[in-house]
Protein backbone atom coordinates (compact mmCIF):
# COMPACT_ATOMS: atom_id res chain seq x y z
CA UNK A 1 0.00 0.00 0.00
CA UNK A 2 2.57 2.44 1.17
CA UNK A 3 4.86 1.12 -1.49
CA UNK A 4 2.28 1.73 -4.12
CA UNK A 5 1.72 5.21 -2.83
CA UNK A 6 5.38 5.92 -3.14
CA UNK A 7 6.09 3.97 -6.29
CA UNK A 8 6.33 6.15 -9.32
CA UNK A 9 4.01 5.79 -12.27
CA UNK A 10 5.38 5.22 -15.73
CA UNK A 11 4.57 8.77 -16.69
CA UNK A 12 6.41 10.04 -13.67
CA UNK A 13 9.45 7.94 -14.42
CA UNK A 14 9.35 9.12 -17.98
CA UNK A 15 9.26 12.73 -16.90
CA UNK A 16 12.12 12.23 -14.46
CA UNK A 17 14.36 10.49 -16.95
CA UNK A 18 13.52 12.99 -19.62
CA UNK A 19 14.22 15.86 -17.25
CA UNK A 20 17.58 14.46 -16.30
CA UNK A 21 18.46 13.77 -19.90
CA UNK A 22 17.46 17.23 -21.02
CA UNK A 23 19.05 19.10 -18.11
CA UNK A 24 22.16 16.95 -18.47
CA UNK A 25 22.55 17.69 -22.15
CA UNK A 26 21.74 21.32 -21.57
CA UNK A 27 24.60 21.61 -19.12
CA UNK A 28 26.74 19.45 -21.35
CA UNK A 29 26.50 21.63 -24.38
CA UNK A 30 26.94 24.93 -22.58
CA UNK A 31 29.84 23.86 -20.38
CA UNK A 32 32.68 24.43 -22.80
CA UNK A 33 31.34 27.61 -24.41
CA UNK A 34 30.34 28.86 -20.97
CA UNK A 35 33.81 28.41 -19.56
CA UNK A 36 35.34 29.91 -22.68
CA UNK A 37 33.13 32.98 -22.49
CA UNK A 38 33.74 33.30 -18.77
CA UNK A 39 37.47 33.17 -19.38
CA UNK A 40 37.21 35.77 -22.11
CA UNK A 41 35.27 38.08 -19.85
CA UNK A 42 37.52 37.49 -16.87
CA UNK A 43 40.92 37.62 -18.48
CA UNK A 44 40.76 39.44 -21.78
CA UNK A 45 39.96 42.96 -22.80
CA UNK A 46 38.44 43.42 -26.19
CA UNK A 47 36.02 45.59 -28.07
CA UNK A 48 32.42 44.67 -27.59
CA UNK A 49 33.09 43.01 -24.28
CA UNK A 50 30.27 44.94 -22.63
CA UNK A 51 27.98 43.97 -25.50
CA UNK A 52 28.83 40.28 -25.22
CA UNK A 53 28.37 40.48 -21.50
CA UNK A 54 24.99 42.09 -21.96
CA UNK A 55 23.83 39.68 -24.63
CA UNK A 56 24.57 36.61 -22.64
CA UNK A 57 22.57 37.95 -19.75
CA UNK A 58 19.47 38.40 -21.88
CA UNK A 59 17.97 35.01 -21.03
CA UNK A 60 18.16 36.05 -17.43
CA UNK A 61 16.50 39.36 -17.96
CA UNK A 62 13.68 38.46 -20.29
CA UNK A 63 10.70 36.39 -19.19
CA UNK A 64 11.38 32.78 -20.19
CA UNK A 65 8.33 32.70 -22.41
CA UNK A 66 9.77 35.57 -24.39
CA UNK A 67 13.08 33.76 -24.68
CA UNK A 68 11.22 30.70 -25.88
CA UNK A 69 9.41 32.80 -28.41
CA UNK A 70 12.65 34.35 -29.64
CA UNK A 71 14.12 30.88 -29.90
CA UNK A 72 11.14 29.80 -31.94
CA UNK A 73 11.63 32.80 -34.18
CA UNK A 74 15.31 32.15 -34.76
CA UNK A 75 15.69 28.41 -34.40
CA UNK A 76 12.24 27.36 -35.62
CA UNK A 77 12.14 25.65 -38.94
CA UNK A 78 11.24 28.96 -40.52
CA UNK A 79 13.70 30.95 -38.46
CA UNK A 80 16.91 32.19 -40.05
CA UNK A 81 19.16 29.98 -37.96
CA UNK A 82 16.76 27.06 -37.86
CA UNK A 83 16.47 27.01 -41.62
CA UNK A 84 20.20 26.82 -41.97
CA UNK A 85 20.46 24.09 -39.36
CA UNK A 86 17.72 22.12 -41.02
CA UNK A 87 18.97 22.45 -44.57
CA UNK A 88 22.62 22.05 -43.64
CA UNK A 89 22.43 19.29 -41.06
CA UNK A 90 18.88 18.02 -41.17
CA UNK A 91 18.65 19.21 -37.59
CA UNK A 92 15.30 20.37 -36.31
CA UNK A 93 15.23 21.67 -32.77
CA UNK A 94 11.71 22.85 -31.96
CA UNK A 95 9.38 20.22 -30.53
CA UNK A 96 12.23 17.79 -29.82
CA UNK A 97 14.07 16.98 -26.64
CA UNK A 98 17.17 18.48 -28.18
CA UNK A 99 15.21 21.68 -28.48
CA UNK A 100 14.25 21.46 -24.84
CA UNK A 101 17.92 21.02 -24.01
CA UNK A 102 18.71 24.10 -26.06
CA UNK A 103 16.06 26.08 -24.23
CA UNK A 104 17.34 24.89 -20.85
CA UNK A 105 20.91 25.57 -21.89
CA UNK A 106 20.16 29.07 -23.06
CA UNK A 107 18.37 29.90 -19.83
CA UNK A 108 21.14 28.39 -17.73
CA UNK A 109 24.00 29.93 -19.68
CA UNK A 110 24.28 33.27 -17.85
CA UNK A 111 24.27 31.56 -14.47
CA UNK A 112 27.09 29.27 -15.51
CA UNK A 113 29.14 32.05 -17.01
CA UNK A 114 28.71 34.33 -14.03
CA UNK A 115 29.79 31.78 -11.49
CA UNK A 116 32.76 30.57 -13.50
CA UNK A 117 33.83 34.11 -14.25
CA UNK A 118 33.69 35.01 -10.58
CA UNK A 119 35.96 32.11 -9.74
CA UNK A 120 38.32 32.77 -12.61
CA UNK A 121 38.71 36.33 -11.48
CA UNK A 122 39.62 35.10 -8.03
CA UNK A 123 42.46 32.93 -9.33
CA UNK A 124 45.74 34.55 -8.39
CA UNK A 125 47.42 35.74 -11.58
CA UNK A 126 50.72 35.34 -9.79
CA UNK A 127 50.31 31.60 -9.97
CA UNK A 128 49.56 31.77 -13.67
CA UNK A 129 52.65 33.89 -14.17
CA UNK A 130 54.68 31.39 -12.16
CA UNK A 131 53.44 28.58 -14.39
CA UNK A 132 54.48 30.65 -17.38
CA UNK A 133 58.00 30.99 -16.08
CA UNK A 134 58.08 27.23 -15.72
CA UNK A 135 57.53 26.95 -19.46
CA UNK A 136 53.78 26.36 -19.56
CA UNK A 137 52.03 27.93 -22.51
CA UNK A 138 48.61 29.55 -22.30
CA UNK A 139 46.71 26.33 -22.72
CA UNK A 140 48.71 24.44 -20.19
CA UNK A 141 48.34 27.30 -17.73
CA UNK A 142 44.60 27.28 -18.37
CA UNK A 143 44.16 23.57 -17.86
CA UNK A 144 46.65 22.96 -15.08
CA UNK A 145 46.38 26.15 -13.05
CA UNK A 146 43.47 28.40 -13.87
CA UNK A 147 40.67 25.90 -14.26
CA UNK A 148 41.66 23.61 -11.38
CA UNK A 149 41.80 26.62 -9.11
CA UNK A 150 38.43 27.78 -10.40
CA UNK A 151 36.82 24.47 -9.50
CA UNK A 152 34.54 26.03 -6.87
CA UNK A 153 33.08 28.30 -9.51
CA UNK A 154 32.87 25.51 -12.05
CA UNK A 155 30.94 23.40 -9.58
CA UNK A 156 28.69 26.22 -8.49
CA UNK A 157 28.09 27.22 -12.07
CA UNK A 158 27.35 23.68 -13.12
CA UNK A 159 24.93 23.05 -10.31
CA UNK A 160 23.17 26.36 -10.83
CA UNK A 161 22.93 25.65 -14.54
CA UNK A 162 21.69 22.14 -13.92
CA UNK A 163 19.11 23.32 -11.44
CA UNK A 164 17.99 26.05 -13.78
CA UNK A 165 17.73 23.68 -16.71
CA UNK A 166 15.90 21.16 -14.56
CA UNK A 167 13.32 23.73 -13.57
CA UNK A 168 13.07 25.38 -16.94
CA UNK A 169 9.49 25.82 -17.99
CA UNK A 170 8.53 28.92 -19.90
CA UNK A 171 11.09 28.79 -22.67
CA UNK A 172 10.73 25.05 -23.00
CA UNK A 173 6.97 24.92 -23.36
CA UNK A 174 7.10 27.76 -25.85
CA UNK A 175 10.01 26.50 -27.92
CA UNK A 176 9.91 22.74 -27.50
CA UNK A 177 6.26 22.29 -26.60
CA UNK A 178 4.81 19.94 -24.02
CA UNK A 179 5.03 16.63 -25.81
CA UNK A 180 4.81 13.55 -23.58
CA UNK A 181 7.90 11.39 -23.79
CA UNK A 182 9.70 13.96 -25.86
CA UNK A 183 9.67 17.30 -24.11
CA UNK A 184 7.34 16.89 -21.17
CA UNK A 185 9.86 17.32 -18.39
CA UNK A 186 9.03 17.38 -14.70
CA UNK A 187 8.13 21.08 -14.60
CA UNK A 188 5.94 20.73 -17.67
CA UNK A 189 4.21 17.72 -16.22
CA UNK A 190 3.80 19.64 -13.03
CA UNK A 191 2.33 22.54 -14.97
CA UNK A 192 -0.05 20.29 -16.75
CA UNK A 193 -1.27 18.93 -13.44
CA UNK A 194 -1.52 22.34 -11.87
CA UNK A 195 -3.69 23.47 -14.76
CA UNK A 196 -6.09 20.76 -13.94
CA UNK A 197 -8.45 21.35 -11.08
CA UNK A 198 -8.50 18.56 -8.55
CA UNK A 199 -5.06 17.17 -9.41
CA UNK A 200 -3.32 18.84 -6.50
CA UNK A 201 -2.18 15.58 -4.94
CA UNK A 202 -0.50 14.42 -8.11
CA UNK A 203 1.02 17.87 -8.51
CA UNK A 204 2.36 17.75 -4.98
CA UNK A 205 3.96 14.37 -5.70
CA UNK A 206 5.77 15.77 -8.70
CA UNK A 207 6.74 18.81 -6.72
CA UNK A 208 8.33 16.63 -4.07
CA UNK A 209 10.02 14.60 -6.76
CA UNK A 210 11.55 17.73 -8.27
CA UNK A 211 12.74 18.77 -4.89
CA UNK A 212 14.31 15.40 -4.18
CA UNK A 213 16.16 15.34 -7.47
CA UNK A 214 17.37 18.88 -7.03
CA UNK A 215 18.47 18.19 -3.47
CA UNK A 216 20.41 15.16 -4.59
CA UNK A 217 22.25 17.06 -7.28
CA UNK A 218 22.91 19.92 -4.88
CA UNK A 219 24.30 17.63 -2.25
CA UNK A 220 26.52 15.93 -4.77
CA UNK A 221 27.91 19.25 -5.83
CA UNK A 222 28.38 20.40 -2.25
CA UNK A 223 30.27 17.25 -1.51
CA UNK A 224 32.53 17.71 -4.49
CA UNK A 225 33.10 21.34 -3.61
CA UNK A 226 33.93 20.48 -0.05
CA UNK A 227 36.45 17.94 -1.21
CA UNK A 228 38.03 20.41 -3.57
CA UNK A 229 38.23 23.02 -0.82
CA UNK A 230 39.63 20.66 1.72
CA UNK A 231 42.45 19.77 -0.59
CA UNK A 232 43.47 23.37 -0.87
CA UNK A 233 42.80 24.23 2.71
CA UNK A 234 45.56 26.25 4.22
CA UNK A 235 46.24 26.62 7.84
CA UNK A 236 44.07 29.61 8.53
CA UNK A 237 40.57 28.30 8.22
Amino acid sequence: MLFEAIALSDAEWQAIILSLKIAGSAVGWILVPGVAVAWLLARQDFRGKALLDGLLHLPLVLPPVVVGYLLLLSLGRHGWLGQWLYQGFGLSLPFTWQGAAVAGGVMAFPLLVRAVRLSLEAVDPKLEAAAGTLGANRWRVLFTITLPLAVPGLLTGTVLAFARALSEFGATITFASNIPGETRTLPLALYTLIQTPGREAAAARLCVLSIVIAMLSLMASEWLARRARQRLQERDR
Binding site: V65, Y69, L72, G76, R77, H78, G79, P94, F95, I173, T174, S177, N178, I179, P180, G181, Y191, T192, I194, Q195, T196, P197, G198, R199
Partner: protein, 237 residues
Protein backbone atom coordinates in the same frame (compact mmCIF):
# COMPACT_ATOMS: atom_id res chain seq x y z
CA UNK B 1 4.68 -1.82 -35.20
CA UNK B 2 2.08 0.86 -34.91
CA UNK B 3 1.30 3.69 -37.18
CA UNK B 4 2.36 7.26 -36.46
CA UNK B 5 0.69 8.67 -33.38
CA UNK B 6 -1.95 11.33 -33.71
CA UNK B 7 -0.92 14.50 -31.98
CA UNK B 8 -3.63 16.69 -30.62
CA UNK B 9 -2.66 20.16 -29.42
CA UNK B 10 -5.22 21.05 -26.81
CA UNK B 11 -5.78 24.00 -24.50
CA UNK B 12 -4.44 23.27 -21.06
CA UNK B 13 -7.86 23.76 -19.46
CA UNK B 14 -9.03 20.64 -21.32
CA UNK B 15 -6.37 18.41 -19.80
CA UNK B 16 -8.44 16.11 -17.66
CA UNK B 17 -11.39 15.83 -20.00
CA UNK B 18 -9.19 15.21 -23.00
CA UNK B 19 -7.11 12.63 -21.17
CA UNK B 20 -10.29 10.74 -20.33
CA UNK B 21 -11.50 10.95 -23.91
CA UNK B 22 -8.19 9.70 -25.25
CA UNK B 23 -8.14 6.83 -22.83
CA UNK B 24 -11.59 5.81 -23.97
CA UNK B 25 -10.66 6.13 -27.63
CA UNK B 26 -7.42 4.20 -27.30
CA UNK B 27 -9.17 1.36 -25.48
CA UNK B 28 -11.06 0.37 -28.63
CA UNK B 29 -8.83 1.77 -31.38
CA UNK B 30 -5.37 0.58 -32.31
CA UNK B 31 -3.84 4.00 -32.40
CA UNK B 32 -1.59 6.14 -30.27
CA UNK B 33 -2.99 9.56 -29.38
CA UNK B 34 -0.47 12.07 -28.00
CA UNK B 35 -1.96 15.11 -26.29
CA UNK B 36 0.09 18.27 -26.02
CA UNK B 37 -1.22 20.78 -23.52
CA UNK B 38 -0.34 24.43 -23.26
CA UNK B 39 -2.10 27.74 -23.46
CA UNK B 40 -4.02 28.22 -26.69
CA UNK B 41 -1.75 31.01 -27.77
CA UNK B 42 1.41 29.00 -27.27
CA UNK B 43 -0.04 26.13 -29.21
CA UNK B 44 -1.14 28.36 -32.04
CA UNK B 45 2.27 29.92 -32.37
CA UNK B 46 3.93 26.52 -32.30
CA UNK B 47 1.69 25.17 -34.98
CA UNK B 48 2.48 28.24 -37.03
CA UNK B 49 6.18 27.48 -36.60
CA UNK B 50 5.77 23.99 -37.91
CA UNK B 51 5.03 21.94 -34.85
CA UNK B 52 4.13 18.34 -35.69
CA UNK B 53 0.48 18.81 -34.77
CA UNK B 54 -2.38 16.96 -36.37
CA UNK B 55 -5.32 18.52 -34.53
CA UNK B 56 -5.64 21.81 -32.72
CA UNK B 57 -8.26 22.30 -30.04
CA UNK B 58 -8.34 25.93 -28.95
CA UNK B 59 -10.03 27.33 -25.89
CA UNK B 60 -11.27 30.31 -27.85
CA UNK B 61 -11.92 31.41 -31.37
CA UNK B 62 -9.38 34.19 -31.51
CA UNK B 63 -6.36 31.92 -31.75
CA UNK B 64 -8.07 29.65 -34.22
CA UNK B 65 -8.78 32.74 -36.30
CA UNK B 66 -5.22 33.86 -35.93
CA UNK B 67 -3.94 30.48 -37.02
CA UNK B 68 -6.20 30.43 -40.01
CA UNK B 69 -4.82 33.81 -40.99
CA UNK B 70 -1.26 32.52 -40.90
CA UNK B 71 -1.30 31.13 -44.38
CA UNK B 72 -1.52 27.63 -43.04
CA UNK B 73 -3.62 24.76 -44.34
CA UNK B 74 -6.10 24.72 -41.47
CA UNK B 75 -8.72 22.16 -42.25
CA UNK B 76 -12.41 22.24 -41.63
CA UNK B 77 -13.26 23.85 -38.35
CA UNK B 78 -15.77 22.48 -35.87
CA UNK B 79 -17.04 24.15 -32.76
CA UNK B 80 -16.66 21.15 -30.54
CA UNK B 81 -17.72 22.24 -27.07
CA UNK B 82 -19.33 24.98 -25.05
CA UNK B 83 -18.64 26.17 -21.59
CA UNK B 84 -20.30 28.56 -19.20
CA UNK B 85 -19.00 31.37 -17.11
CA UNK B 86 -19.73 31.10 -13.40
CA UNK B 87 -19.13 33.12 -10.29
CA UNK B 88 -17.45 31.11 -7.53
CA UNK B 89 -16.68 31.54 -3.87
CA UNK B 90 -14.78 29.43 -1.38
CA UNK B 91 -16.83 26.46 -0.18
CA UNK B 92 -17.02 27.88 3.31
CA UNK B 93 -18.14 31.29 2.11
CA UNK B 94 -21.44 32.60 3.39
CA UNK B 95 -22.18 34.58 0.25
CA UNK B 96 -25.59 33.56 -0.91
CA UNK B 97 -26.22 32.55 -4.47
CA UNK B 98 -27.43 35.14 -6.94
CA UNK B 99 -27.51 35.74 -10.65
CA UNK B 100 -25.08 38.39 -11.74
CA UNK B 101 -26.79 41.30 -13.45
CA UNK B 102 -30.03 40.46 -11.74
CA UNK B 103 -30.21 43.10 -9.06
CA UNK B 104 -27.41 42.17 -6.68
CA UNK B 105 -24.06 43.55 -7.76
CA UNK B 106 -20.85 41.62 -7.47
CA UNK B 107 -19.17 44.74 -6.14
CA UNK B 108 -21.50 44.78 -3.15
CA UNK B 109 -20.36 41.25 -2.28
CA UNK B 110 -16.73 42.27 -2.17
CA UNK B 111 -15.51 43.65 1.13
CA UNK B 112 -13.28 46.66 1.43
CA UNK B 113 -10.05 46.13 -0.44
CA UNK B 114 -11.13 42.71 -1.62
CA UNK B 115 -10.71 41.68 -5.19
CA UNK B 116 -12.44 39.65 -7.81
CA UNK B 117 -10.20 37.09 -9.39
CA UNK B 118 -10.42 36.52 -13.11
CA UNK B 119 -8.22 35.39 -15.95
CA UNK B 120 -6.17 38.19 -17.44
CA UNK B 121 -8.86 40.13 -19.32
CA UNK B 122 -6.81 40.97 -22.35
CA UNK B 123 -5.60 37.54 -23.40
CA UNK B 124 -6.76 34.70 -21.20
CA UNK B 125 -9.99 33.49 -22.83
CA UNK B 126 -11.85 33.17 -19.54
CA UNK B 127 -10.75 36.69 -18.74
CA UNK B 128 -11.92 38.05 -22.05
CA UNK B 129 -15.35 36.52 -21.55
CA UNK B 130 -15.44 37.77 -17.97
CA UNK B 131 -14.77 41.28 -19.16
CA UNK B 132 -17.58 41.03 -21.70
CA UNK B 133 -19.94 39.70 -19.07
CA UNK B 134 -19.07 42.39 -16.56
CA UNK B 135 -19.51 45.02 -19.22
CA UNK B 136 -22.86 43.75 -20.24
CA UNK B 137 -24.15 43.66 -16.67
CA UNK B 138 -22.75 47.15 -16.16
CA UNK B 139 -20.20 46.34 -13.48
CA UNK B 140 -17.03 46.67 -15.51
CA UNK B 141 -16.32 50.25 -14.54
CA UNK B 142 -16.81 49.53 -10.87
CA UNK B 143 -14.74 46.38 -10.84
CA UNK B 144 -12.04 47.11 -13.41
CA UNK B 145 -9.61 48.31 -10.78
CA UNK B 146 -10.52 45.60 -8.29
CA UNK B 147 -9.61 42.61 -10.39
CA UNK B 148 -6.92 40.10 -9.54
CA UNK B 149 -5.99 38.59 -12.83
CA UNK B 150 -4.10 35.37 -13.26
CA UNK B 151 -2.43 34.17 -16.41
CA UNK B 152 -4.94 31.35 -16.75
CA UNK B 153 -8.26 30.27 -15.29
CA UNK B 154 -6.63 27.82 -12.99
CA UNK B 155 -4.62 30.57 -11.35
CA UNK B 156 -7.74 32.66 -10.97
CA UNK B 157 -9.50 29.78 -9.28
CA UNK B 158 -6.54 29.09 -7.00
CA UNK B 159 -7.00 32.53 -5.49
CA UNK B 160 -10.57 31.68 -4.56
CA UNK B 161 -9.60 28.24 -3.32
CA UNK B 162 -7.06 29.86 -1.04
CA UNK B 163 -9.68 32.41 0.03
CA UNK B 164 -7.43 35.23 -1.13
CA UNK B 165 -10.36 36.63 -3.02
CA UNK B 166 -13.96 36.05 -1.92
CA UNK B 167 -15.19 35.73 -5.48
CA UNK B 168 -13.88 34.70 -8.85
CA UNK B 169 -15.06 34.21 -12.39
CA UNK B 170 -14.14 30.90 -13.98
CA UNK B 171 -15.57 28.28 -16.29
CA UNK B 172 -18.25 25.99 -15.15
CA UNK B 173 -15.89 23.06 -15.82
CA UNK B 174 -13.30 24.38 -13.41
CA UNK B 175 -15.81 25.09 -10.70
CA UNK B 176 -17.10 21.54 -10.91
CA UNK B 177 -13.68 19.95 -10.66
CA UNK B 178 -12.74 21.66 -7.44
CA UNK B 179 -14.35 20.83 -4.14
CA UNK B 180 -12.86 23.86 -2.49
CA UNK B 181 -15.07 26.30 -4.32
CA UNK B 182 -18.78 26.52 -4.77
CA UNK B 183 -20.78 28.09 -7.49
CA UNK B 184 -22.44 31.28 -6.42
CA UNK B 185 -23.98 32.23 -9.70
CA UNK B 186 -23.98 31.61 -13.42
CA UNK B 187 -23.59 34.43 -15.91
CA UNK B 188 -26.38 34.60 -18.43
CA UNK B 189 -25.30 33.05 -21.71
CA UNK B 190 -26.06 36.27 -23.53
CA UNK B 191 -23.88 38.38 -21.31
CA UNK B 192 -20.81 37.30 -23.31
CA UNK B 193 -19.87 35.74 -26.61
CA UNK B 194 -20.51 32.04 -26.64
CA UNK B 195 -17.63 30.13 -25.10
CA UNK B 196 -16.75 27.66 -27.79
CA UNK B 197 -13.84 25.29 -28.22
CA UNK B 198 -13.10 25.17 -31.92
CA UNK B 199 -11.31 22.15 -33.30
CA UNK B 200 -9.49 21.82 -36.61
CA UNK B 201 -7.14 19.48 -38.33
CA UNK B 202 -3.93 21.35 -38.97
CA UNK B 203 -1.98 18.64 -40.77
CA UNK B 204 -2.02 19.40 -44.53
CA UNK B 205 -1.98 15.69 -45.27
CA UNK B 206 -3.97 14.18 -42.44
CA UNK B 207 -3.71 10.45 -41.93
CA UNK B 208 -6.75 8.26 -41.72
CA UNK B 209 -6.19 7.91 -38.00
CA UNK B 210 -6.33 11.66 -37.63
CA UNK B 211 -9.56 11.96 -39.52
CA UNK B 212 -11.07 9.09 -37.58
CA UNK B 213 -10.14 10.58 -34.24
CA UNK B 214 -11.46 13.98 -35.25
CA UNK B 215 -14.72 12.45 -36.25
CA UNK B 216 -14.91 10.49 -33.01
CA UNK B 217 -14.27 13.65 -30.97
CA UNK B 218 -17.25 15.29 -32.57
CA UNK B 219 -19.38 12.24 -31.92
CA UNK B 220 -21.69 11.32 -29.07
CA UNK B 221 -19.27 9.01 -27.23
CA UNK B 222 -16.82 11.83 -26.81
CA UNK B 223 -19.52 14.32 -25.93
CA UNK B 224 -20.68 12.07 -23.14
CA UNK B 225 -17.24 12.07 -21.68
CA UNK B 226 -16.82 15.84 -21.99
CA UNK B 227 -20.19 16.42 -20.38
CA UNK B 228 -19.01 14.55 -17.35
CA UNK B 229 -16.42 17.29 -16.94
CA UNK B 230 -19.02 20.03 -17.19
CA UNK B 231 -18.79 20.93 -20.87
CA UNK B 232 -21.95 21.37 -22.81
CA UNK B 233 -22.40 20.35 -26.41
CA UNK B 234 -22.69 23.03 -29.05
CA UNK B 235 -26.37 23.31 -29.93
CA UNK B 236 -26.81 22.88 -33.55
CA UNK B 237 -28.46 26.23 -34.10
Amino acid sequence: DRADPVRIYAAASMTDAMNAAIQAYESDHDVDIVPVYASSSTLARQIASGAPADIYLSANEQWMDWLAAQDLPVGERVDLLRNRLVLIAPTASDIAGFTPGDGTTIASRLGDGQRLSVGETSHVPAGIYAKQALQSIGEWNALQSRLASGDNVRAAMALVERNETPLGIVYQTDAEASDRVKRVGVFPDDSHQPITYPLAVVDPTPSDDTEAFRRWLAGDDALAIFSRYGFTPVESD
